[in-house]
């Protein structure tokens, strides 16, 4: 009786070790991109950290339901988006709306830094429906089809939004460049 119990316990703990291993691989491979995506989604680093932690906690709990490691990325994004939506359910009036994304720090050379800051402000100012597909494309390298699947949208809609997103970025950039030229000249 005792030896049988011991065996089953041993296999439980080896299952546990396997799960732990799988989880760690998942975290190491994807936490950077997931965190960045969360940052762009909520535009606040602290909130993004919280959401990503929640996301990985949920991922850990239901890791058994992830059959194919290749699907891990979109699985995590789905969890993340759900967590983000949950945040709005919980705190309807506590919306974070930081447009300048000043929380994003970097140690680049000044010129590049200014350019990046500008670009970040512009990307952050895009409305969510444009920002989200754009970031899926930029951060995860998703194709139009993959974005459509992830966001549960029609592909044409996705392509239109991507076009408009870049168009807005370009226009905003041209505008600031004009301003620069005008103020400098």
């Amino acid at each position: 009786m005792f030896s049988r119990k011991k065996n089953s316990q041993a296999s439980v703990s080896s299952d546990m070790a396997n799960k732990q291993k799988r989880y760690e691989v998942l975290v190491l491979a994807l936490h950077n991109d997931i965190f960045r995506y969360a940052c762009w989604l909520v535009k606040n680093k602290t909130v993004a950290e919280d959401i990503v932690q929640e996301t990985f906690l949920r991922a850990w709990k239901s890791l058994d339901s992830l059959k194919d490691e290749k699907a891990a990325k979109s699985w995590l994004i789905t969890i993340l988006r759900r967590e983000n939506a949950r945040r709005f359910e919980r705190k309807r009036f506590d919306l974070v709306d930081i447009d300048d994304v000043s929380v994003i720090d970097d140690q680049l050379s000044n010129e590049v830094e200014i350019e990046h800051r500008e670009l970040r402000a512009i990307m952050a100012s895009l409305s969510e429906e444009y920002r989200e597909p754009l970031m899926l494309q930029i951060i995860f390298g998703y194709s139009g089809d993959e974005i459509a699947q992830q966001l549960n949208l029609n592909k044409n809609t996705v392509m239109t939004r991507l076009f408009r997103a870049r168009n807005q970025v370009k226009e905003a950039l041209d505008k600031t460049n004009d301003n620069w030229g005008r103020t400098n000249g």
Binding site: M16, Y23, H31, R36, F56, I104, T160, V169
Partner: protein, 235 residues
């Protein structure tokens, strides 16, 4: 593919690998320029999107889950351990108590013996010599090394299934009964008792227990010490 569609397609995906688009780029230097610019912008956007991830973040993510799974494991183990410990504790305690309650209290038993026996031994008026007493005590491997005074009675008796030497001697204030009882695991000779007009004290010496029973005014303590001094066991 007209100009607008071309721009739309590339704006939507600067890394587009559509043959028609690629062919259009190859054919037109202006389109090539546009394509290059757009690629550059995309690269910049990509760089700008690389938010710095906190250094300890990955550890936070891993540690938190590890701790959670360990915590649930640990609570289960500690509950099992606590249950095993408390079962062991109860078993140990009850065994000890059961054993103690089963120990035969020699001093009490001796009083009961004397009381039950009545005058059979106490009324004896013989005079045993030291040799005679020692001859009996030799059965237990012991002897008295000094005179004991007047010994009215000395014989074997059954002391709760243990064969013992029962003597009646002259004490300071009247007769006292003395039992020499070979050691037994179930005996407890470390106390005194009183009742039914008697009092008694027991003591362990090497090889046997000695119990002295006297009437309430008798100095059993003194008699006990004397006997302890006088008795010797060879083994």
């Amino acid at each position: 593919m007209d100009e607008l569609e071309f721009r739309r397609t590339l704006y939507a995906d600067p890394n587009c690998t559509d043959d028609v688009v690629l062919a259009a780029i190859a054919d037109d230097p202006k389109k090539q320029e546009f394509y290059k610019e757009l690629k550059q912008l995309n690269k910049k956007m990509q760089n700008a999107s690389q938010v710095k991830v906190p250094d300890d973040f990955v550890h936070k993510l891993i540690m938190r889950q590890t701790m959670q799974s360990h915590k649930s494991n640990k609570t289960r183990h500690s509950i099992q351990l606590a249950m095993a410990a408390s079962v062991a504790f109860v078993v140990g305690m009850s065994f000890t108590m059961w054993q103690q309650s089963n120990l035969l209290d020699l001093s009490k038993q001796a009083i009961a013996h004397v009381h039950y026996e009545g005058g059979y031994a106490l009324d004896a008026q013989e005079n045993f010599s030291l040799q005679q007493v020692n001859a009996k005590l030799a059965q237990f491997g012991g002897e008295f090394t000094e005179e004991l005074g007047h010994v009215y009675y000395a014989n074997f008796c059954d002391f709760e299934k243990v064969r013992s030497l029962h003597m009646v001697m002259q004490g300071e204030n009247g007769k006292v009964s003395v039992f020499v009882i070979p050691h037994d695991d179930t005996h407890n000779a470390r106390n005194s008792a009183s009742g039914k007009g008697y009092k008694s004290q027991a003591i362990d010496v090497k090889g046997a227990s000695i119990v002295v029973v006297g009437e309430e005014d008798a100095n059993v303590q003194k008699m006990k010490e004397q006997l302890k001094r006088k008795i010797r066991f060879s083994a």
